[in-house]
């Protein structure tokens, strides 16, 4: 049992002297005991976390696999993600795909599988009475997927249709173009195209499964109406004989710093989508709290953040507007996203860059920083207010390679961030000289971008707007 840390720090924002309700003081979050999951490790390396919770007759579980498409070679790009989706859909164990679908539907149980950049997962949820049956299916999907040819063909045909619909949304086009541009020439920039989908085969999926789905450092989480002995029996029965492999996986090198540019992609949209950004810092424990608070103050903090306050609240230019730094193990990216009518996209970009410049040249106010800290501190409880969140918190620390005692010093680390730190993040992580601006919109958007370009910082205003086409991906 861990005692909740928030009790340690008491902040009274308004003071307690006034009697009016508006001055209701901010009182510290009440201390409470956070239930601790039971955990154990199998000989093959699988670590299990169990959180019994009998409020509802449900059980949910997930197996996390500690490898992702970044561990695969670039010529196999897209295959691991595709394989991940097909583990569940192509039949498993003794059951054909149709049989598995029917069995799961009859139980109203769910099993899902997927692979991302750094890890993959297979998960299930079911009524506790159906657990023995569903856990067997879950194991088969994980260890013995059949990858039925007809289901691969179905998946391919649906993917091809999905690719055709990419041009329907300005935001999809701008996002694809942005990633392509900033990660140019690296594995991160690749976009799955129809020719790549068509070229995938069952053999590719089998290879990817054999290589990447393994017990090494895997984690199983179980939450819900399940006793410890049941959990141990099931995990032992189905996973203890799973042999680890010896292959070592490596990550690709950090992508090169991105180059700047101004790009316009024409499309029949009355509302344009703009992204301003570049490659950013990768995830790092030292900068975690500084970036967290920068993001909150800059543009990920809703109406409390300066960017949203300027673009949405003060100027009424956008309904969707946000920005900040997203970090990952190997790469990071900085971005500002705005959706605004074509006529105002130039102004929105100009004002967004003004906000960025203010962060780079002026210290944020003490009050703003304290507000951001208060929010982070007082909402911290929501990382621990349900059994699934408690497990997910543990898991996210492991997956991000953060130390197990990370939460012990969370609040004190948060409070140690200074105004100067926020300015340092803005200055060191954002480089106006290499920003890329991508706008997708109609003729009005182009005219607006052209008109406002002159007001942008010299590094950007000196550049020509490059008009590029989109066909499955942006044709830079």
């Amino acid at each position: 049992m861990k005692n909740f840390l928030i009790i340690l720090i008491c902040i009274s924002f308004f003071g307690c002297t006034s009697q009016t309700p508006q001055d209701l003081p901010i009182t510290p979050v009440k201390s409470f005991d956070i239930p601790e999951p039971i955990s154990w490790k199998l000989e093959n390396g699988i670590k299990v976390f169990l959180m019994e919770d009998n409020e509802l007759p449900f059980v949910e579980g997930t197996l996390y696999i500690r490898s992702g498409y970044l561990n695969d070679s670039s010529e196999n790009l897209g295959i691991l993600a595709a394989m991940g989706s097909q583990m569940r859909n192509g039949g498993a164990g003794d059951l054909t795909a149709d049989q598995l679908d029917l069995e799961l539907e009859k139980l109203s149980a769910n099993i899902g599988s997927s692979f991302g950049a750094e890890d993959g997962s297979v998960s299930f949820s079911c009524l506790n009475t159906d657990l023995p049956k569903v856990f067997k299916f879950f194991t088969d999907v994980t260890r013995k997927p059949r990858f039925q040819e007809d289901r691969i063909a179905l998946w391919k045909s649906l993917q091809l249709q999905k690719i055709k619909s990419r041009s329907e949304k300005s935001t999809t086009i701008s996002r694809i173009g942005f990633n392509q541009h900033i990660f140019k020439g690296s594995v991160f920039s690749e976009v799955t195209t129809s020719s790549r989908i068509k070229g995938m085969s069952r053999a590719d999926f089998v290879r990817a499964h054999n290589k990447f789905v393994r017990p090494n450092d895997a984690i199983i989480t179980l939450i819900g109406s399940i006793k410890e002995h049941e959990a141990r029996d099931l995990v032992d029965k189905y996973f203890s004989d799973w042999k680890p492999t010896n292959e070592k996986f490596t990550l690709p090198p950090e992508p090169k710093k991105s180059e700047g540019g101004l790009f316009f992609i024409k499309g029949p949209f009355s509302q344009s989508a703009a992204i301003i950004g570049q490659t950013g810092p990768k995830r790092d424990l030292d900068s975690f709290f500084k970036i967290k608070l920068f993001n909150s103050l800059f543009g990920f903090g809703g109406s409390s953040s300066k960017l949203v306050m300027r673009i949405r609240e003060d100027l009424g230019l956008a309904y969707v507007n946000y920005g900040g730094i997203a970090t990952n193990t190997v790469f990071g990216k900085n971005y500002i996203v705005t959706q605004t009518k074509g006529e105002s996209v130039g102004e929105a970009i100009y004002e967004s860059l003004n906000v960025l410049e203010e962060f780079q040249t002026e210290l944020v106010s003490n009050e703003a920083l304290e507000d951001a800290k208060r929010y982070a501190q007082n909402s911290y409880v929501f990382l621990f207010d349900s059994p699934s969140k408690i497990i997910n918190r543990k898991l996210s620390l492991i997956l991000q390679d953060f130390p197990p005692d990370f939460d012990e010093s969370y609040l004190s680390n948060l409070h140690s961030v200074s105004r100067e730190d926020i300015m340092d993040v803005a200055k060191q992580s954002w480089d106006v000289n290499s920003l890329v601006i991508i706008v997708v919109g109609d003729d009005k958007a182009y005219e607006s971008l052209k008109a406002w370009k002159q007001k942008l910082p010299p590094e950007l205003s000196s550049q020509e707007i490059q008009v590029v086409e989109f066909d499955e991906k942006v044709l830079f």
Binding site: F13, P21, Q22, L24, I26, T27, V29, K30, F32, P35, E55, L56, P57, F58, L102, E105, K106, L107, S108, S125, L127, N128, T129, D130, L154, L158, Q161, K164, S165, S167, E168, K169, S170, G267, F269, Q271, G301, G302, S303, S304, M309, R312, E313, D314, G316, L317, A318, Y319, Q339, K341, D371, R374, Y375, N378, Y380, V381, F382, F384, D385, S386
Partner: protein, 495 residues
């Protein structure tokens, strides 16, 4: 009717078909226990409070729901309830301003000019410069971030609001330590709001409309679909409002609209989580008890949809892949056919072993997806709509033709035991899975109470869903899935 969660007590007689009755009984017991713990209290002013204590952490979810939405809007004022929802985030006379007296006088001055403009009258150059000056003065008085900060400083989580065709809902999760603040603030939002930046926010709403409708193929198709299906009933209107209506809304008429609908008898407050029923109810009474009840209940539409005499069809052209909505007029709960229609729709398109998914997506591969929706609301008779997305090179018309054939076959077919079982268990499990979150539960309790004047109506609905027979499913298919009763809206690719 499908809700975020649907509480039910299983009173059906188990037939041999119910091979998984243990699971259903277990589910039923869990939900019956939950039901026994929910407390509903009506305050003297008519406001209803629903409380459910659960969880181990010192947090709660609060939802304040008002029985007002797009369906209540007068002609030419579409989008006004949504605009009002946006205004509820702009603060009060004591929060969001440095000098309310001065602000009030400036806002009154500004309103005169803006009303003129909204009536289509051109402002003189002199007037325009006055407006500019007022705006500059207001900008110096406003403290725009204070409302949001008051929430975020106390750890507000998932704070948001939604407006639908039937209901407006404000919700948030907070540490329990902020309980009194939240109750006070939510009551203040209703008692003492100030419509700051109304006209800037109108622009923001126009951007929201561009995103959700004007540039969205599915949004535009849906708007056109409703507009065609309903001839006179306000269910034909978009919740976000038509652009031309939104551009003319004024702060004055929005306030008048609020006074009509934001009265205590039309408001439900739901509290879920770490709630002390007696002590916390006193806090709710203290602040929400200040709302004055009105002798005039909120006006409701008297429009009755015209009887449909034949199939309606509409086509729009958009830079997007083909897509179709096929909708049938149908009654809503408490009509006895409501639950049977939902079970039928589940059997047809509810999952990846449903009839139409297997046929069109998996086997014939002529559709990329098939699904159903019951829309746009639940207060008045609505539509059961099937969303059919043809897969290239299949066309909308080809898929509709196949769909028609499949529906006719369905009407004459026998429903398998498995099909009934899967549909009902899906309803039960979806219901149960919503019960793990304070916020979900709070929103669902409020919704049931606002729509049916009794959140337990959802219990009754579920009983009906579980009592639906195979014969009921075939009967409602033959009764409602007829061309005379339907509207087809197609999106064709713009060349």
């Amino acid at each position: 009717m499908r809700l975020l969660f649907i509480v039910f007590i299983l009173t059906i007689h188990f037939s041999p078909d119910y091979v998984f009755c243990d699971a259903l009984t277990q589910t039923s017991e869990t939900l019956a226990e939950l039901k026994s713990k929910v407390v509903k209290v009506t305050l003297d002013n008519g406001l209803r409070v629903i409380i459910y204590r659960r969880g181990f952490a010192p947090v709660f979810a609060g939802s304040v729901s008002v029985g007002v939405g797009g369906v209540d809007e007068p002609s030419g004022k579409t989008g006004i309830s949504h605009m009002l929802e946006h205004m509820a985030f702009k603060g009060t006379t004591t929060l969001g301003t440095k000098n309310y007296r001065k602000e009030k006088s400036l806002l009154n001055e500004l309103e005169i000019f803006m009303q003129k403009e909204s009536q289509g009258l051109e402002l003189s150059i002199d007037d325009k410069s006055k407006v500019q000056k007022i705006r500059a003065d207001l900008a110096n008085i406003w403290d725009n971030s204070s409302f949001d900060k008051a929430y975020s400083n106390r750890g507000a989580n998932s704070q948001n609001a939604t407006t639908s065709i039937d209901i407006t809902n404000y919700y948030v999760e907070f540490p329990k330590s902020a309980f009194e603040f939240w109750v006070w603030m939510e009551s203040e939002r209703i008692l003492d709001p100030v419509y700051r930046q109304f006209y800037k926010e109108r622009d923001v709403v126009q951007e929201e409309r561009r995103m959700r409708t004007d540039d969205s193929p599915t949004g535009k198709l849906y708007e056109t679909f409703l507009n065609t299906a309903f001839s006179i009933h306000p269910y034909r209107n978009p919740v976000i409002g038509y652009s031309q209506d939104v551009s003319k809304l004024t702060a004055t008429e929005t306030r008048e609209f609020q006074e009509k609908y934001y009265q205590p008898s039309n408001i439900v407050v739901s509290l879920v989580g770490d709630i002390d029923i007696d002590k916390d109810l006193d806090v709710v009474k203290k602040y929400f008890g200040r709302l004055k009840s009105s002798p005039n209940p909120p006006p409701r539409t008297k429009a009755t949809e015209l009887e449909q005499l034949g199939q309606k069809e509409v086509t729009i052209y958009f830079s997007a892949l083909p897509n179709t909505l096929v909708g049938y007029k149908r009654p809503v709960y408490p009509h006895k056919d409501d639950a049977a229609l939902t079970v039928m729709a589940e059997i047809l398109t509810g999952g990846n072993v449903s009839r139409l998914y297997k046929k069109f997506v998996r086997d014939e591969r002529i559709a990329s997806s098939v699904s159903y929706l019951e829309a746009p609301g639940a207060r008045y008779d609505n539509l059961l709509a099937f969303n059919l997305k043809p897969k290239t090179p299949t066309t909308n018309d080809e898929l509709i033709q196949k769909f028609d054939k499949a529906i006719e076959e369905f009407k004459k077919s026998k429903i398998a035991d498995d099909e009934m079982l899967i549909a009902k268990r899906d309803i039960a499990l979806n219901t149960l899975s919503g019960l793990g979150s304070n916020l979900n539960i709070a929103n669902a309790l409020s919704y049931g109470e606002i729509i049916y004047n009794n959140w337990e109506a959802t219990v009754d609905w579920c009983e009906e869903a579980f009592a639906v027979t195979k014969e009921d499913v075939i009967r409602v298919a033959n009764k409602y899935l007829i061309s005379r009763n339907r509207t087809i809206a197609k999106l064709e690719t713009k060349k």
